[in-house]
């Protein structure tokens, strides 16, 4: 089967800055894929190259088998992009804007039923006649997602779709995106919330300084971190000889990282001999954040 996205040896340079360095990435149809990385890692650059908003310095990119440069018409028809910033056209209301957007893709009145469906599933029905300027931030975000879907693209890219969104809307958007994936759309998500990637995505690429430093299934990445975390609420400060295990601290609440599970016994023994009382205790599985920190750190020391 043709891959949804194929990125081969892509290099992008802005002056002296190497934004992307030799990136290779294949995303299969139907995948739910996350692009992770700190600010400036090259996530948005990669998306903009796919969308044709930027041109690669070298290398090839294709969407559903169509080269984004040579066959840009087909490639763009196959791709829906939800941009990161809340951009909008202040002259039009939601429905007009969606119809225009569909029109640019050659879709006419026959497409209106689909537009209505998108409007309804994103909870925009009450706002169809409202000028884009008057929508709240959350509603603008929904409208942006609707705009990316008007031409029924098989591949959907969401650049930080839940940035600055309240919890309720975040979960609603998660459900919506999951449904799109179930309906057969390939989803590519960039996010700062590692929790989001963990909850949604089956595969993850980790970008750092323009390079893919990890590419694996979410499950494998999580399994690659053998340790667990121990969260403690103590009556006094942690003894000095346990300080190097601390991952996170807030007053007398500590999160320690454990390489092996029987370190718990050692920690408790040390606490007892220092006369520190454990008020609460929790053992937590590693999450993507640990993978992220671990890989970023390992890459740094290399």
């Amino acid at each position: 089967m043709t891959p949804a996205i194929k990125i081969e040896q892509v290099h992008k340079q802005f002056g002296a800055l190497h934004a992307l360095n030799c990136v290779d990435l294949t995303i299969e149809q139907g995948e739910f894929f996350a692009l992770l990385g700190p600010n400036g890692a090259g996530k948005s650059t990669l998306i903009n190259l796919l969308a044709g908003l930027l041109r690669p310095t070298s290398g090839n990119l294709s969407v559903m088998g169509f080269d984004v440069m040579a066959q840009y018409r087909q490639a763009r028809r196959a791709l829906g992009v939800v941009p990161q910033e809340l951009v909008f056209d202040p002259f039009f209301n939601v429905r007009e804007m969606l119809r225009f957007q569909a029109g640019y893709f050659g879709k006419g009145p026959e497409n209106d039923a689909w537009i209505d469906e998108v409007i309804e599933s994103l909870g925009l029905t009450d706002k169809v006649g409202t000028n884009m300027r008057r929508l709240s931030g959350g509603m603008k975000r929904r409208a942006l997602i609707a705009q990316a879907l008007v031409h029924k693209p098989p591949v959907i890219v969401l650049d930080e779709p839940t940035a600055g969104v309240d919890v309720e809307l975040r979960y609603m958007l998660w459900e919506f995106i999951k449904r799109l994936n179930r309906d057969g759309h390939t989803i590519i998500l960039t996010t700062h919330y590692l929790e989001e990637a963990e909850a949604l995505c089956s595969r993850v690429a980790l970008l750092k300084q323009g390079e893919v430093i990890a590419l694996d299934s979410t499950k494998n990445l999580l399994a690659s971190i053998p340790g667990k975390k121990l969260r403690l609420k103590l009556s006094a400060a942690l003894p000095a000889n346990l300080q190097d295990m601390v991952r996170h601290q807030e007053q007398h609440d500590y999160t320690l990282s454990l390489n092996v599970i029987n370190q718990v016994e050692y920690v408790l023994a040390e606490l007892r001999s220092a006369n520190v009382v454990v008020e609460d205790m929790q053992l937590i599985e590693a999450d993507l954040e640990d993978v992220f920190i671990n890989l970023m750190g390992r890459h740094e020391s290399n």
């Binding site: 802005f14 903009n48 969308a51 044709g52 908003l53 930027l54 041109r55 840009y72 018409r73 087909q74 763009r76 028809r77 791709l79 992009v81 941009p83 910033e85 951009v87 909008f88 056209d89 202040p90 002259f91 039009f92 007009e96 225009f100 957007q101 029109g103 640019y104 893709f105 050659g106 879709k107 006419g108 705009q147």
Partner: protein
């Protein structure tokens, strides 16, 4: 028929959106320039009427009106494409067009045609208001139409260039005030180039706006400073040259696609 529809629906939609964009604020984009032109007409024909006769047997008001119409057509055609582009660039909404399968040529044609429509709507409006007060001759209507279309097309293309180049409203205002305004005011709208000293006459001949005004005026009362055919050639030549530059910039993705 349906196939043709689908093929052209993209650029047609962009054209329609550009038209609707200025129509939504028509008070500012149509009514305001009509008002300005009428004020010029009122003041200048009052002050100069009866004192200045540029061509024999042509009253000053009759001389002035075609120039004012053409000047407004040109300024508004420029304003349409340039302000739409700078606004959508600053707001970021330009990406909604850039993400679509529209080609650079379709983009150009949609913006250009919308500019021509805006220029013609403003031009016609001034004409219709003016003929309520003054009996305006109409000797060569085809010349009038040709100059109106070629002139607004040229300025529409020029507006795309300015809109692509400018990154801030400030730069756009500078372009408008230091390029478009001097070119239109020094084109002989209010006077005949022949009344100028020889040096300034030569300078005026380098101004493409002069040819547009002079040729357009010829269409109304059949007199001008130079041959309307020569003017039309200059205007069409400038229009084509500017269009090629604009298309080249769009093709290269100048300040649109990095």
């Amino acid at each position: 028929m349906n196939l043709i529809n689908q093929r052209f629906r993209g650029p047609w939609t962009l054209f329609k959106k550009e038209i609707l964009r200025f129509w939504r604020v028509s008070f500012q984009t149509v009514a305001a320039p009509v008002m300005t032109a009428l004020l010029y007409l009122l003041i200048f024909s009052h002050v100069l009427g009866g004192r200045v006769e540029v061509y024999p047997d042509v009253p000053y008001a009759i001389f002035l009106i075609p120039g004012l119409i053409m000047m407004s057509i040109l300024q508004n055609a420029f304003a349409n494409s340039s302000s739409s582009l700078i606004q959508s660039k600053v707001m970021g909404s330009i990406i909604f067009v850039l993400l679509t399968p529209l080609s650079y040529l379709e983009f150009f044609l949609a913006f250009l045609s919308a500019s021509i429509v805006r220029g013609l709507v403003v031009g016609f409006s001034i004409y219709f208001v003016a003929i309520c007060f003054i009996d305006l001759p109409l000797i060569h209507p085809l010349f009038i139409l040709a100059f109106a279309i070629a002139g607004s097309g040229m300025l529409g293309a020029f507006g795309i260039i300015a809109g692509l180049w400018a990154e801030k409203f400030d730069q756009m205002a500078a372009f408008q005030n230091f390029v478009i305004m001097p070119l239109s005011f020094l084109s002989g709208v209010f006077y005949s180039i022949h009344s100028l000293p020889p040096f300034w006459q030569k300078i005026s001949h380098l101004n493409p706006f002069f040819y547009m005004i002079d040729g357009f005026r010829y269409g109304f009362f059949g007199q001008g400073d130079i041959s309307p055919w020569f003017s039309l050639t200059v205007v069409l030549g400038s229009f084509i040259a500017l269009s090629f530059i604009t298309i080249g910039m769009l093709k290269a993705g100048y300040k649109l696609r990095g």
